[in-house]
């Protein structure tokens, strides 16, 4: 019981910092967005490349917000105890989903530049694309995205609001409510994420298909969220927050999950690769062939080593997972690699000749990354950074890895 008093004595509200943080991040994000638009408007970059850069970064930040939704749902689905003290950060990231719905509009504006199937002339001329027109058409695309975004926003809000409500009321029936809905919500999440990744990224090459694609995007999101949670918690503790609530034991568990999903990502990525390699059917191999030409092969190798082999070795043993500074460094590295992974999925469609990122790729990363964090900071301003009356809080505070 003594540790509970510790957390009530320590800094767990962002307070004035929260106000400053979300305003500054929103300002930085908007400024970077305007700079990116200016780069394209002034002709320094084509609008086509601008929209692809936007898509890379939208798919990146969306994967993190969806990863956060997965983390919150998983917590309730498994009646987790250990993750109570880190759950609020995940909830805050899901609260940025309405903002991401707004940020989806530019993708719609760039639809004709991004997706060949959206141009009727292309669809009419290509037998394969024509055959998929019942699914891949603009009105249905818009309707589907309205459904996905609504499902994610509603699910995220359901969990975030009940969690906040429990902070003031301490009502344990809220926990039961959240746990009861977690199963169906997870099914809905799995279906929407799968189709969203097919629509957003896979349909860039409408002739190509991979039945494991949704799982691949999911694996990347989960790697992303455990990395982001670790990095954010480390930054918060560095600024004096949650020093008592979050211990080395929580980092250890985040590290284990990060390690597990790094391996899972590699497993899925390889499963996709090997089947295409082995079947050797032109309609499937084209997608990988583009990613082995003109320098893109180096990006693939960077992923093999940087997204799997190096973090695999770095996180394998117990010790590095129990050193928060080292783990946070690996987490930041994994976030960078996750971005490279999304870049590798999207950009060959617009730049088959060169893997080098352009300035807009980076300015839009700053823009969308800042806006995601601004949305999360806005959601928890004036709120506690831990669900402070969760019935499993004690269990989480006293958590130890045996």
């Amino acid at each position: 019981m003594e540790r509970t008093t510790d957390i009530f004595a320590e800094k767990r509200h962002l307070g004035a910092l929260g106000e400053r943080l979300w305003r500054r991040l929103a300002l930085a994000g908007t400024a970077a967005l305007l700079v990116s638009v200016a780069i394209a408007a002034l002709g320094a970059e084509s609008w086509r490349r601008f929209f692809f850069a936007y898509l890379v970064n939208f798919a990146f930040v969306l994967s993190l917000a969806l990863g956060a939704l997965y983390f919150v749902l998983l917590h309730h689905l498994t009646h987790s105890g250990w993750s109570v003290v880190v759950r609020r950060v995940g909830e805050a990231l899901t609260a940025a989903l309405p903002l991401l719905a707004l940020l989806f509009i530019p993708v719609l504006l760039g639809l004709k530049e991004l997706y060949p199937w959206s141009q009727t002339a292309v669809a009419a001329a290509d037998h394969v694309v024509h055959g998929k027109a019942a699914y891949l058409n603009v009105p249905f695309f818009v309707v589907r995205w309205a459904v996905y975004l609504a499902a994610w926003i509603v699910t995220g809000r359901f969990y975030f609001r009940r969690s906040l409500l429990q902070d003031s009321s301490g009502d344990t029936s809220l926990t039961l409510q959240m746990e009861r809905r977690a199963g169906p919500a997870m099914v809905l999440f799995g279906i929407t994420l799968t189709f969203a990744s097919i629509d957003l990224v896979m349909s860039l090459d409408p002739r190509w298909f991979s039945t494991i694609f949704g799982v691949y995007y999911f694996a990347g999101s989960v790697v992303g969220i455990y990395a982001l949670l670790t990095a954010v918690l480390f930054a918060l503790q560095g600024s004096g927050f949650l020093r008592n609530a979050v211990t080395v034991e929580h980092y250890h568990d985040l590290g284990k999950l990060l390690f597990g999903f790094v391996v899972f990502w590699a497993y899925i990525g390889f499963s996709q690769y090997m089947l295409i390699w082995y079947a050797n059917i032109p309609e499937e191999t084209g997608w990988l062939a583009h990613r082995q030409e003109n320098g893109w092969g180096w990006v693939g190798l960077l992923l093999v080593f940087g997204h799997f082999l190096i973090p695999f070795v770095a996180l394998l043993s117990r010790a590095p997972k129990r050193r928060p500074r080292l783990l946070a460094a690996v987490a930041v590295w994994m976030l960078a690699m996750h971005w490279v992974d999304v870049y590798w999925l999207v950009t060959p469609a617009v730049s088959p000749g060169s893997p080098l990122p352009r300035l807009v790729d980076l300015t839009l990363l700053v823009a969308l990354g800042s806006l995601l964090l601004a949305g999360a900071a806005y959601a928890v301003r004036g709120r506690s950074l831990v669900p402070e009356r969760d019935p499993r809080l004690e269990e989480s505070l006293a958590f130890e890895n045996a």
């Binding site: 390889f270 690769y273 090997m274 390699w277 082995y278 050797n280 394998l316 043993s317 117990r318 130890e400 045996a402």
Partner: protein, 187 residues
């Protein structure tokens, strides 16, 4: 479990060590730290459930099992690759639908499975050997009251083979640590 033969019956019972009982987890942990600090090495603790911090109190070092698992995994990976290279790419080359005789992507699944198999066998067998299993008998088992180690008793045993062991001194030491009772265990 046969009738005692002349040989076993003739052997005089030797002192195996001492068994001290404690009432609470706190008392057990505090006592273990003292036993550890007093320089004993051949001692053990018994409790009805896993206790956080027990390893630290006993001064148990990190297990070497991970190295055994890593060794098993590396052996499995090497064996898997070698097996496939030898059979398909060297000893009996057979062209299947234009694929390379030895292609790394095709070899990964079996390599992966053998890595996992030998790593887990390493963990399984390593754990048995390290814990000296199977062990059907232990000298503390017949001790009076030891059955409570499965319900509400917390015990420390100190073995006579410990260089710091002294039949009288160790008993007094354990009693001073707050042991409810200290019993001599015979082998």
């Amino acid at each position: 479990m046969s009738e005692p033969t002349a040989a076993t019956a003739a052997r005089a019972p030797r002192t195996w060590g001492l068994l001290a009982e404690f009432d609470t987890v706190g008392a057990l942990l505090a006592a273990l730290e003292k036993v550890r600090d007093a320089g004993y090495v051949a001692f053990d603790a018994y409790a009805p459930f896993p206790i956080h911090g027990l390893d630290e109190s006993m001064g148990i070092r990190m297990s070497r099992l991970p190295w055994l698992v890593a060794g098993g995994g590396a052996t499995g990976a090497a064996a898997g690759l070698l097996l496939q290279w030898w059979t398909n790419g060297f000893d009996y080359k057979y062209l299947v639908s234009g694929k390379p005789f030895f292609g790394l992507p095709a070899a990964i699944p079996i390599t992966f499975e053998l890595t996992v198999l030998l790593a887990s066998l390493g963990a399984f067998i390593g754990l048995l050997v390290a814990n000296r299993f199977p062990e059907l008998y232990h000298p503390v088992l017949p001790a009076r009251g030891f059955a409570r180690a499965t319900t509400d008793g917390f015990f420390i045993s100190v073995e006579a083979r410990d260089p710091a062991f002294d039949a009288v001194g160790t008993r007094e030491f354990l009693e001073k640590l707050g042991a409810k009772q200290v019993e001599k265990v015979e082998d």
